[in-house]
């Protein structure tokens, strides 16, 4: 076998070695390595490795890492829920309002694109009417789409402008809502990494649990 191979021209031998090489390395780095890592993930980090799934009354309702839409069948935002950021993750179908994990992504609209500017102004008007706040008080994350379209969080400022509306829809006091918002606010990691955030799904689940509509 070896002697036969040596009789082949050099470039053929090189390519045979290359083919054997890619097969060997595919087995090592493409099968053994990922499967070993999968085993570690599923035993040591079971919940996280499966997507940090969230349950409500025993049924899985989503992931704490993925936003979901809180809208009526016609797409109007539901006042009893905190609203996530605008999302560009949509199939484009008329009943897909965003936060669709099959279409993760950003708007990719440029910083001076008239379309983006018009979108932001329209969202400001909508939020202003929905939450009864002046446009100058609306935080930027409430009117801009996230990078993934699946951002599970909003800024504490964005949560704050929604408190009164949620409280009114649930017939409770703003202080009761504020207490829950505080509970689901996470500060910067190690005090310096990232930004403080409020997880929308976990907050809304807590609201449904404690103060059902």
């Amino acid at each position: 076998m070896r002697r036969q191979m040596n009789r082949l021209p050099g470039y053929v031998r090189q390519h045979i070695a290359a083919l054997r090489g890619i097969v060997v390395f595919t087995v090592l780095t493409g099968i053994i390595y990922p499967l070993a890592m999968l085993a570690v993930a599923q035993t040591a980090f079971h919940d996280k490795a499966n997507g940090s799934l969230v349950t409500y009354h025993g049924r899985i309702i989503g992931s704490s890492l993925l936003c979901q839409e809180f809208v009526s069948a016609k797409g109007a935002p539901l006042p009893q829920y905190f609203q996530p950021r605008p999302s560009a993750a949509t199939s484009g179908a008329s009943n897909d309002y965003g936060c669709d994990p099959l279409y993760s992504g950003a708007s990719n609209l440029g910083p001076n694109n008239p379309k983006l500017i018009a979108q932001i102004k329209a969202r400001q008007k909508q939020v202003s009417a929905f939450d009864h706040v002046p446009i100058s008080n609306i935080p930027p994350d409430a009117v801009t789409a996230s990078g993934s379209g699946l951002d599970p969080d909003i800024s504490p400022a964005n949560a704050a402008i929604q408190v009164d509306r949620v409280a009114a829809a649930r017939h409770i006091t703003p202080a009761q809502v504020e207490a829950l918002v505080k509970e689901y606010t996470t500060g910067r990691a190690l005090g310096i990494l990232g930004e403080p955030v409020v997880n929308v799904l976990l907050l809304n689940r807590a609201l449904d649990e404690k103060y059902p509509v």
């Binding site: 390519h15 070695a17 083919l19 090489g21 890619i22 060997v24 390395f25 595919t26 090592l28 780095t29 493409g30 390595y33 890592m37 999968l38 570690v40 993930a41 996280k48 490795a49 499966n50 997507g51 899985i60 309702i61 993925l66 839409e69 809208v71 669709d100 994990p101 099959l102 279409y103 993760s104 992504g105 950003a106 708007s107 990719n108 609209l109 440029g110 910083p111 001076n112 694109n113 983006l116 932001i120 935080p139 930027p140 009117v143 801009t144 996230s146 990078g147 993934s148 379209g149 699946l150 951002d151 599970p152 990691a189 190690l190 005090g191 310096i192 990232g194 930004e195 955030v197 449904d208």
Partner: protein
């Protein structure tokens, strides 16, 4: 604490972690490439591949082995993509269409990881893990070993041998990349990155709607995607996706993974040529330009009025395309680090950055991916520029052009010049053709100068093997798939051949003792000159194109 203060502390923590790993990892890689001992596992691999590990190769043979391995890799990956629906774990994904499969195969083998597809709707789990992720390892390994072959050109004298491609590739994979991926992957899992092979499943949401939750072996791929400076996302949203990058900590750690190896390779270089001061000098150049990029992008994203972004002024913040948990600081640090290396992963939409912030990401790539650049590719690119600098220094002040004890003669300068010219030629030709022709021009999303920037960014990214995108440009077309694949292959492998030729030419020389006329290449003067040469070369090459794109938009 203010966001700005937290951002600077985050950067400080990153610098500290990188500094702590610099010596041990750099020394370790030098040991990996210089020891005579083969591991038993490695001997087994050599036997399976059918090569003799003690066969020291000439530069031509080294290059042919590298090219053969890469060519077969493209075919192999193309085959997996085209046949994925017949394979296990395809998750119902169809076979990838020919043009897209070609582009993706070229993209992953060249360490570019430009993506004209969205992972969650195109690639099955097996294609991701046994096709794409394998190239995350192997393309990184190939980049490193080519750099090491060039370093051997400086180490050795009066020989025409540069080492054995198979031994170098096997060792860096077995002894460095896989262990790094295992440790880093476990840290990412602890941080919440998913890793499963569950099928996509649909759940009823809290308010009664439906949502499909994807899965995948993500953590094992994410870690090498960053550490190998590949950047190809498991999902379309790449490192902005919460399943790839769930928290500010994982974000910080992924940036660390991006930078740790390319910086440490300057130590490997210093150690191998037995003059570690030379490694520190190159490191200094890299760190200065990296920090300048971080500072620049952070400044323009947080001062969006100066950045020239109307949308951010209307919204009172440059948050379009930015995840809440990362914020402007996390986005800017990531954007700078992913574009000064050849990574190209993104955690925020580069298309939506302010004109000047986005312009810096473009300029970062145009620098030729040398500060610190891709794993290996950054080191050999920087060494070529160092050679150009001693040559320029020789012309200016009459010094003998020498670098690390080797003379820089016409032969070396020809290789260096060819190396430098390849990338701009492919970038500007690709951009010019795409703007000039009607069909590729129709792919532009954003109007005005921003549209030119989208195309310029695409070709700069592909030709520098970065892979990040101004993603508004619709590139899953016959034109961009085909031309992009060619651009990536030419701009990756032609320079590699010149680098190996340069290594061969250097290795044949007898070392020249340093004299009074030798420029000291470890002193601040040289560091400053090297930075100057990099900026002047890039400025002269790309200034007209940058002026018509980001500058025109930012100053309108």
């Amino acid at each position: 604490m203010s966001s700005a203060a937290a951002g600077w502390l985050q950067l400080g923590l990153l610098v500290a972690a990188l500094a702590a790993c610099y010596l041990p990892l750099g020394n370790y890689m030098a040991h990996v490439f210089t020891t005579d001992r083969h591991w038993r596992l490695e001997r087994g691999i050599y036997r399976l591949i059918g090569i003799n590990p003690d066969n020291d190769q000439k530069w031509g043979a080294y290059a042919r082995s590298m090219l053969a391995f890469s060519a077969i890799s493209v075919l192999f990956l193309y085959g997996i993509e085209r046949l994925q629906s017949y394979l296990l774990l395809s998750e119902g994904m169809k076979n990838v269409p020919p043009a897209l499969a070609w582009n993706t195969a070229a993209s992953f083998v060249t360490n570019t990881n430009w993506q004209n597809y969205s992972g969650e709707s195109t690639m099955g789990y097996l294609t991701q893990m046994s096709g794409l992720a394998v190239q995350n390892f192997m393309s990184a390994a190939v980049g490193i070993v080519v750099a090491i072959a060039l370093v051997r050109g400086f180490m050795r004298s009066k020989t025409d041998r540069l080492g054995n491609f198979w031994v170098d590739t096997t060792r860096i994979t077995i002894r460095y990349l896989i262990p790094l991926a295992v440790i880093g992957g476990i840290i990412l899992m602890a941080g919440g990155v998913i890793d499963n092979i569950a099928s996509y499943h649909t759940v009823t949401t809290l308010s009664g709607a439906h949502q499909t939750i994807p899965g995948g072996p993500v953590a094992s791929q994410e870690v090498i995607k960053q550490a190998g400076n590949n950047g190809g996302g498991f999902f379309n949203a790449n490192s902005a996706h919460p399943f790839e990058n769930p928290s500010p900590f994982t974000n910080w750690f992924e940036i660390f993974l991006i930078l740790v190896t390319p910086f440490a390779l300057t130590r490997t270089f210093g150690k191998m040529v037995k003059d570690t001061r030379q490694g520190f000098a190159l490191l200094a150049v890299m760190v200065v330009l990296w920090l300048a990029a971080v500072g620049g992008i952070s400044f323009f994203e947080s001062h969006y009025n100066a950045g020239g972004a109307t949308a951010a002024q209307v919204a009172h913040g440059a948050t379009e395309g930015v995840e809440t948990r990362f914020g402007t600081a996390g986005c800017s640090l990531f954007a700078a680090s992913t574009t000064v290396t050849s990574t190209g992963a993104v955690n925020c939409s580069h298309d939506s950055l302010t004109p000047f912030g986005g312009g810096i990401t473009l300029a970062d790539m145009a620098l030729g991916e040398v500060v610190p650049g891709g794993v290996g590719a950054g080191l050999y690119g920087m060494l070529v520029l160092a050679i150009v600098t001693v040559f320029v220094g020789g012309l200016m002040v009459g010094r003998t052009p020498e670098y690390i004890g080797k003379k820089i003669r016409p032969a070396e300068m020809k290789y260096a010049a060819l190396y430098f010219l390849t990338t701009p030629a492919t970038v500007l030709a690709g951009t010019g053709l795409s703007i000039g022709l009607r069909v590729p021009r129709a792919s532009i999303l954003n109007p005005g100068p921003h549209g030119l920037t989208e195309i310029l960014y695409a070709f700069t990214s592909m030709a520098n093997n970065n892979g990040s995108a101004f993603a508004g440009l619709a590139t899953n077309t016959y034109w961009y798939n085909t031309v992009g694949g060619i651009v990536m292959l030419v701009a990756r492998f032609a320079p590699m051949i010149f680098v190996l030729g340069l290594g061969g030419s250097l290795a044949r020389q007898q070392p020249v003792p340093a004299s009074a006329g030798t420029m000291e290449t470890h002193k601040p003067l040289f560091v400053g000159m090297l930075i100057g040469v990099i900026l002047v070369l890039i400025g002269l090459t790309y200034f007209p194109a940058l002026a018509l794109g980001p500058f025109a938009e930012g100053l309108h």
